[in-house]
């Protein structure tokens, strides 16, 4: 049975807006209500279609009124900020993430109409450390519990969602642990990071990166909203790439920086509002993280259309390379031609001087005698 009234938090961002627009196109759904603290841009508002936008702060008990009066039956919680830059500092970010979730869950618990909750979580809850197993399944926990930032917020949020589902066992709860998003339109931490012409990385470390295309993220969120999967599922594309490989495929320049210096570089870039090098982001860029997506394929029933490499290739269309791959191919091809010509000249010289340049082939049949 498809949901009648869906409430989506965080619609003013790309993914939230795209999900609301997708749900609004579904005629089986009566109403789609979008909530955010900031109004969506004019272009996004146009795409939202029949979505009703409510400007509300989920940190405010007002959200309960919205849920009750519209008798919302499905709540998609996506208003979780991953960088301090997007929400005006670490303090407001934590408040929005943790207190906002608590308020929303408190409102959901009081609303008898709610029967489904979808949480956009992250695979950052697994942390990133050298003690990690290579691939995380849903049953595993972080070996080194993230101590702060987005990952810690996400762990707290998942904890509150678990206690909510204990108190309201009649509500189906789907927790989606996404890997890093990438794509031509989405504005994620990684896409901003890779847009820089020179990408600083931790010297001596190479992270394993698993990506998810924005269309697949949207597809999974839409299916989780309209479907009936309950539980936790890892969502990521097939296959992995190394960070150095990602940078090379995008034609970017890699600048290995010793890890301590990367921290101060991060502070500098954060001040100018470029890219966030929080300590947890740095750990991720050093060690990386890969999740097992068997549950996604079998129990959840979704197969991402893009693999990690394909998602990156699609993103590459919008990020013009600093070193065009054609140039590399051209230069190496020309060098190969040159070598081939030199080789043929050398061999012709070699044959004219009767093998004085090259040793005569060994006479056949001779073999060392094993036992003398």
């Amino acid at each position: 049975m498809p949901p009648a009234v869906v409430l989506v938090t965080g619609v003013s961002r790309w993914l939230g807006g795209a999900l609301a627009a997708e749900l609004a196109r579904n005629p089986a759904i009566d109403r789609v209500i979008g909530v955010d603290t900031v109004p969506p841009s004019a272009e996004l508002l146009r795409r939202l279609g029949r979505t009703e936008f409510v400007r509300a702060d989920i940190r405010n008990p007002l959200i309960g009124k919205v849920i009750n009066t519209a008798s919302v039956d499905t709540v998609v919680h996506m208003n979780i900020s991953s960088t301090p830059a997007g929400s005006g500092g670490r303090g407001p970010m934590k408040e929005l993430n943790v207190i906002g979730t608590m308020q929303l869950l408190a409102a959901c618990q009081r609303a008898p109409s709610v029967r489904r909750l979808v949480l956009k979580s992250t695979s950052a809850v697994y942390g990133a450390s050298p003690r990690d197993p290579a691939v995380f399944t849903e049953a595993m926990q972080a070996r080194r519990v993230p101590s702060g930032g987005f990952a810690k917020d996400s762990l707290d949020i998942e904890g509150y969602v678990r206690s909510f589902s204990r108190r309201r066992p009649d509500v189906g709860v789907a927790v989606l642990r996404f890997t890093n998003f990438i794509g031509p339109r989405i504005d994620s931490v990684l896409s901003g990071f890779l847009r820089m012409p020179v990408v600083p990385t931790a010297l001596g470390y190479d992270a394993r990166v698993q990506l998810l295309h924005e269309d697949d993220a949207l597809g999974v969120l839409a299916q989780a909203t309209t479907g009936d999967f309950a539980g936790t599922v890892n969502v990521g594309g097939e296959g992995t790439l190394l960070l150095s490989q990602v940078i090379r495929r995008l034609g970017r320049l890699q600048l290995p920086v010793p890890s301590p210096a990367l921290g101060s570089l991060g502070r500098l870039t954060r001040r100018f509002g470029f890219v966030d090098y929080s300590p947890e982001q740095m750990r991720f860029l050093s060690f990386g993280r890969v999740v097992d997506t068997t549950v996604l394929h079998t129990e959840f029933g979704y197969t991402p259309r893009y693999t990690t490499a394909e998602a990156l290739a699609d993103y590459a269309h919008t990020a013009p390379p600093v070193i065009p791959p054609e140039l590399v191919v051209d230069v190496t091809a020309r060098a190969q031609q040159l070598v081939a010509r030199a080789g043929s000249v050398a061999s012709s010289v070699g044959t004219t001087v009767h093998g004085r340049l090259r040793p005569a082939p060994a006479s056949p049949g001779l073999r060392a005698v094993r036992d003398a």
């Binding site: 050298p130 197993p133 691939v135 150095s244 490989q245 060690f287 190496t332 081939a340 061999s347 056949p364």
Partner: protein, 298 residues
């Protein structure tokens, strides 16, 4: 008629495939360079970079394998040509060169050119450069999750249950096996039903004879031990050159685990017994190899 070389009978001499000429080699190198610059190569979820391993890491190790240590491999027929298996070996040599040599041995001397997926301590992956190179070489963290995942993926997994106790033991204790961890490797084999192949490596003990251990320095650097050898640190970087001992690597008969069933992993007595059996087998074959080897450096 007395044949001089009876085993030559009926065999026609096949000329060996000629080595690629220098221009072909340079062209291959340029091709490799192009792949590296554009990122057009494959890596797996453990970070294994086959392109780098085949074209840089293995060629760098090969002279060490064939010229410096003159490694002889015995019993490769005991290593399955396909499917997963857990290879359990002794660990020694102050610096874990033995793991690298076993990788070359299985790739070059096994007819199926098997890839050896090593399991390493977390310290390895914490170190810059070493950690990322280890992953590119096919290694991953020694934990049951990774071991079982690799075994289920039909890989040849290499484990050194002695760990740092084995690599960092003093020279006077050479060729005596240390405690075999807690038998985690047996549990992984039982759960996946893959055979355990015992492997004995002789020769690694003499490459850096560790006569002392600067414990205070080790603690300062956060290392499990800091080796003092006759040449290191006395001769500085020259002390990093390993002694050219003669190496023998022998793979023993596989110990099947499939008939116990995955539930047997929950039986600690069986796990202990199997651990002891593997340990005894390796110790016995170390003694046999030592008898075979006429002297340390020949």
């Amino acid at each position: 008629m007395i044949r001089l070389r009876p085993d030559d009978d009926g065999q026609r001499h096949v000329p060996p495939a000629s080595d690629p000429s220098w221009d072909e080699q340079v062209a291959g190198g340029l091709d490799f360079l192009r792949r590296r610059l554009t990122g057009e190569y494959e890596t797996d979820e453990f970070g294994f970079d086959t392109d780098l391993t085949d074209h840089v890491l293995l060629p760098v190790l090969r002279p060490l394998f064939s010229r410096w240590f003159r490694v002889e491999t015995h019993g490769v027929e005991n290593v399955p040509a396909e499917g997963g298996a857990l290879i359990v070996a002794n660990h020694s040599g102050t610096v874990p060169v033995d793991a690298l040599m076993a990788t070359v041995a299985l790739h070059d001397d096994h007819p199926a050119q098997r890839r050896f997926r090593l399991l390493g301590a977390d310290l390895v992956f914490d170190l810059p450069v070493v950690g990322s190179l280890a992953r590119k070489f096919g290694a991953t963290l020694a934990c049951s999750e990774d071991a079982e995942r690799l075994l289920c993926g039909d890989e040849l997994v290499g484990v050194f249950p002695e760990g740092f106790k084995g690599v960092g033991k003093p020279f006077r204790e050479r060729y005596t096996l240390q405690r075999f961890g807690r038998g985690g490797f047996v549990t992984a084999a039982l759960r996946t039903g893959k055979p355990i192949v015992p492997c004995a490596i002789v020769g690694a003990e003499e490459i850096y004879p560790m006569i002392g251990n600067a414990k205070t320095l080790a603690r300062l650097l956060g290392l499990p031990y800091f080796p003092v050898t006759p040449t290191f640190p006395a001769l500085g970087p020259l002390g990093l050159v390993p002694l050219p001992s003669k190496w023998l690597i022998a793979f023993g008969e596989p110990i099947e685990t499939a008939h116990y069933g995955p539930a047997a992993a929950e039986d600690p007595m069986l796990v202990f017994n199997l651990t002891d059996q593997v340990r005894e087998t390796i110790q016995q074959s170390i003694y046999q190899l030592l008898l075979q080897r006429t002297s340390v450096f020949s």
